[in-house]
């Protein structure tokens, strides 16, 4: 299985931290509301990140595979 990637649209994020609750190994609050996250999602965290993506109140989390650019 290819390793999943995640990206957060931090222009939309309002620091509700739902993602940190649901997948604390991937998402982390820096200070009171700054969000940092691991971009590579280990297999055993995919389910949690999927929950976080569904739960994010502003739908800012994208989980997916990297684009296949052929060969590389």
């Amino acid at each position: 299985m290819v390793e999943m990637r995640t990206v957060v649209d931090l222009t939309r994020c309002q620091g509700y931290a739902q993602c940190v609750f649901l997948a604390p190994e991937v998402f982390e609050l820096h200070g009171e509301e700054g969000l940092l996250y691991a971009t590579a999602v280990p297999d055993d965290q995919v389910e949690r990140v999927r929950q976080a993506a569904a739960a994010c109140p502003v739908q800012a989390i994208l989980l997916g595979e990297e684009v296949s650019t052929g060969g590389r």
Partner: protein
Amino acid sequence: MDSATLLARITDYASRPNPYPLYAELREAGPVVPQADGSYLIGTYHHIAALLHDPRMSADPRTRGEMTHKPPFLRLDDPEHHRLRTLAMRPFGPPHSPGRVDGMRGEIDRITEALLEPFEAGHQVDIVDDFAYPLPVTVICRLLGVPHEDEPLFRAWSDAIVAAADVRPDDESAEPDKGGDQARMELGGYLLNLAEQRRGKPGEDMLSAFVNEPDPALRLTPEELAETAVLLLIAGHETTVNLIANGALTFLRQPEQLDRLRREPELLPRAVEELLRYEPPVHMRERIPHADMDIAGTPVPRGVPVILALASGNRDPQRFPDPDRFDPARQDNQHLGFGSGIHACYGGPLARLEAYAALGALLPHLATASLVQDPPPYRQNAMLRGPRHLPVRL
């Protein structure tokens, strides 16, 4: 019919099984619909969302002149709201305790499993009393450190508090409801006493954490601790019970969606969000303008109640395509089920984990079950709307 009676009609118990046509009427009459009692009712998504983010809207009942002692942070404004919410968050969530709720997954699964053990084919069960209610109560008790055996005791207080907090048209002739205040005091005293017993003997629970906070700047006063604990205990279970029960009811009414979820279990997290949109446990919230305002062209004076019908916003066709359809795979689902803005639900992640576990485990049982009564009998409450019982034959 007269749109000034909408609030009265929505809160009328006869509307409980299906308030949605009234919400459609509200949006049609809106966006800002003055009510006979002097309040304003709003049911359109974009206006509700904007007002939940508007710093001029107060959540504090004292803004409309109500004489009451300092409420819990649910009904306070910033900066005091922010201070107390942040302190209450320390033992519960990030940034201080990021793994706390995630760490409860196993326990929630075990409680769910134990509750479902007696669910056997052919039996009749009450999804509310046998499952949807005991699950969140057990979870919030463990989290706070409240003995589960005391449930009958705090249930009476909780019922009184929730009844008093309900949204209803202001009736000049009615006696002000003092039962709620009394119950709040008694439940607060009970929880404070529990916390005091843990002083110097910290356990894993939140009451322990509150009472044993070493930093004086981060400590809650006894009154604050009591108000906060009451809020968490009540908000922690009176809402989640509705989510689980509404979920079971919706799946039983729509067997094709139930089938789909059984085939595609990875849809469950999104199905839960869709439930929070389609059948939200919290239907209305009140706000009070701090200043004279103009809301979508309607002048609204300071100090009058503005009722935001979250459940109506969730069905607004201006925001959600095909809003009356339950679609567990719905994209772009920024529902108002947990509110929005600074008061956005504090316990949402816990409620979600409970719903994932509960509905996930219930799905196989529902596949062969049928509703005994449709619509089921509802709770009296219009703001916290949900079935009082949900009898089902397995």
